[in-house]
Symmetry: C2
């Protein structure tokens, strides 16, 4: 009974608090908006769950990505955002075909392979050739052409997990550059150890672009257990030559349409500039693109939603769900082409999964450092440390960042990101709802400051290429 | 310097110990044989690594299983075992074809599926039908035929991990009985949630046998993320019907040969009976059969190796690497048919992965309880608890056990077994060498007692069917 009385007594207090909230600014309410997101957000989950369930995989330029745009427009409109629109652009589309690999001799067995983006095709029956192994891309580069010519190149170097994902830059060379190097040396095909950190039979795809003048060859990734199996086969085979049959039949289907989906929370002062928060709508074709990057769209959209609900911010918040990120930042470049002249106060993107934000980075004019300090104070309670104030970036926003637009970066924990990224295993069950909400809380806090802080965040020097 | 002197001083002591070891019995040396295995065994690893690398997947009755028998004979002979031989038998062989599933409407997308053993085939282009979902096999059984006729049945019930693997019995019904029940009700096909506990896009295959007079229909398993995706699609679809296209083109290729590979450590007294230690050589076709059951063959063979090296035991130890276990214990039944009259003192099998033994069970005559006590005392230091003394079994030895042959069971921790079992993910990287060695230590200790203890372990009553 005592408890009930206490509860009743508390009611008027809660009501006055609610009334007073309405008269306080978004900036003043930042801690409570943040905590509301941290403990109660369902918007990010619903977007992640809805998009991955009702659309699933959505390869750039395909009919699935088009359905995803329709889904996005309906969802963003339903949440009450303004100026919801699609900006389309044309792009070349490459689609996956059959994919099989087998060791023909000396130890016949199947290996699990998937084609890398823009891979050339084998005949339908495949090709059979001797495998030549290299531990690194550099070893492949140094090899005499006659060691490579007519053979299937295998590059085995192994990326390990890092919190900041920094291994992807170096080890990713096997995927980005390996195929062109192998082709130049006359290789029949190339298979790399997947650029990933898991131990499942799910290979990692990803884009690679043929260097100028290079003839496309079949280019695939073996799952990590299969790559290690092939390394063991080399050890057991001794002097025997290892022959592989490889079937990869992807094809280029010509020009198709992709597009960016844009929505806004209009600001009180159009001259105060735009805070752009981005993610990408397309995914690779193997999984349902839950961590890459439905979750990112859920996170930035939920954060913008909490600011919108709290009142009209000083600055316009522009949400961009970019198209065709995976195949070469095509949406990011299209946006840059159209909107580079817009007054972007600051830009940020969520595209590294759904695990907790652990670090806050920025790239503003040093005079705007008090804004960084204010955001950092709001992020400490979420367990987020301060990172660089001179380096920050994102995927689709890269052209804007490079041109000198001020940038925030809420770095997610990437320890398990490359277990999932670009594999069939990138599915909803990998999303931890509590960690997802921590992301929304961090973005809400950042937006509450970024959309309200007076003054400019720039100018910032363009990035040296 | 002091250390060196001490080391030199210790040498004569070590030498006398070595000399005295040779005159002590295998039974007396059991603790040191056990610990040698625990810390230093490489035999089990080398068998597991060698078989999975040089043969890989080895589906019963195929040319790969035949190569595995050749590999087994060479390996067992090389280890110095006696009477190494193959006992062949004929069997019908079913092989996998193409496998694809896609939701056609309302949310088009691909799902990952694999055929269950003995699945019927769709036409090459597949079949397209409405999906009808059931939470359990019992719900399917109770459903009116008209709700099932012409449709694709989906059974979604979810097995959770248990240490003793006991969930497999009940939940496995969806695989064992679901297809026949669905066919009887006129279903076009059936897809079940994989009988597994992981969250990867790797479906679990496994045998199912059509009930008498039942027409085979296409029968597959969805990976667990895909099964949960389909459940979500039902929630999102509301009143819309869900249509699936299913392509499964396995075929029966007729009669082929399988076989059991047998090796022995001959005992001092042929009348003392045989201690049979078993495992199975065949594997499912999706993985390389590392945990199921190359590791089991490594474990029992390594243990027999340490006894052989320690001297001639009282009883003959017979190692059997059974063929065609996965498809219905065919090797176990063939062995029983040929050898039921042999004097089996006691039998045991390792076929539940490579994680630590946690429990020791037995089924001996109560008068032989001192033997159980002696083994249990040797197992306690390995962290192994005592289990039932009236229930113990194994896979291929089931016919022997059922007929009343005394049995030991060293129960492995099955918590993560059904993450891997019957999936593409059953590969060498899942084997923990330290846990594998603990298995060898436990089996070595058990064999040191079982091969030397005087008297009979039986009689034991046949198992009530």
């Amino acid at each position: 009974m005592k408890k009930l009385l206490l509860a009743l007594a508390a009611l008027p207090l809660l009501s006055s608090a609610a009334v007073s909230q309405e008269t306080r600014s978004i900036r003043q309410r930042a801690p409570e908006l943040r905590d509301e997101a941290l403990y109660r957000d369902t918007v990010a989950w619903n977007i992640t769950e809805g998009l991955t369930t009702e659309v699933g995989a959505r390869l750039a330029g395909t009919e699935a990505e088009e359905r995803a745009r329709t889904w996005a427009v309906r969802t963003l409109t339903g949440l009450g955002f303004s100026n919801v629109r699609v900006e389309t652009f044309d792009m070349p589309v490459w689609v996956r075909g059959e994919e099989r690999a087998e060791i023909v001799s000396p130890f016949p067995q199947n290996l699990v392979v998937t084609a890398l983006g823009n891979s050339g095709a084998t005949p339908a029956r495949g090709i059979t050739a001797e495998v030549v192994a290299f531990e690194t891309v550099e070893d492949l580069e140094r090899a005499p052409d006659e060691n490579v010519r007519g053979r299937i190149v295998f590059v085995s170097h192994a990326m390990r997990a890092t919190q900041d994902g920094s291994g992807y830059g170096y080890f990713g060379r096997a995927r980005r550059d390996g195929p062109s190097i192998a082709s130049r040396k006359g290789a029949a095909a190339i298979v790399i150890r997947s650029i990933g950190t898991d131990y499942h039979r799910n290979p990692h795809t990803g884009v690679q672009t043929w260097a100028e003048g290079v003839r496309p060859i079949p280019a695939g990734a073996l799952s990590i257990p299969d790559a290690e199996q092939l390394q063991r086969i080399f050890v057991h085979a001794g002097d025997s030559r290892i022959r592989m049959r490889l079937v990869l039949t992807p094809r280029n289907v010509g020009t198709r349409q992709s597009g960016n989906v844009i929505a806004e929370v209009p600001g009180r002062d159009p001259s105060a500039g735009i805070v752009l928060v981005g993610c990408h709508l397309d995914s690779w074709d193997l999984g349902t693109g839950a961590v890459d990057d439905a979750a990112g769209c859920g996170i930035v959209t939920a954060a913008a939603h909490y600011i919108r609900r709290a009142g009209q911010p000083l600055r316009t918040i522009r949400i961009v769900w970019f198209g065709a990120e995976e195949v070469g930042l095509l949406g990011g470049y299209d946006y840059f082409r159209r909107h580079r002249g817009d007054n972007h106060a600051v830009v940020a993107e969520s595209d590294f999964g759904a695990d907790r934000v652990w670090q806050f980075k920025s790239r503003l004019n040093p005079a705007a450092r008090p804004v960084v300090d204010a955001i950092a104070r709001l992020l400490f309670p979420l367990g987020i440390v301060r990172g660089s104030v001179t380096e920050a970036s994102g995927s689709d926003i890269f052209p804007l960042v490079s041109s000198g637009v001020p940038t925030f970066e809420l770095s997610q924990d990437g320890t398990r990101y490359f277990d999932l990224h670009h594999t069939p295993d990138d599915t909803l069950d990998k999303i931890d709802p509590a960690q997802l909400r921590q992301n929304v809380a961090a973005w809400t806090a950042m937006l509450a400051v970024a959309a309200e802080a007076p003054g400019n965040f720039g100018p910032v020097a363009p990035v040296q290429q």
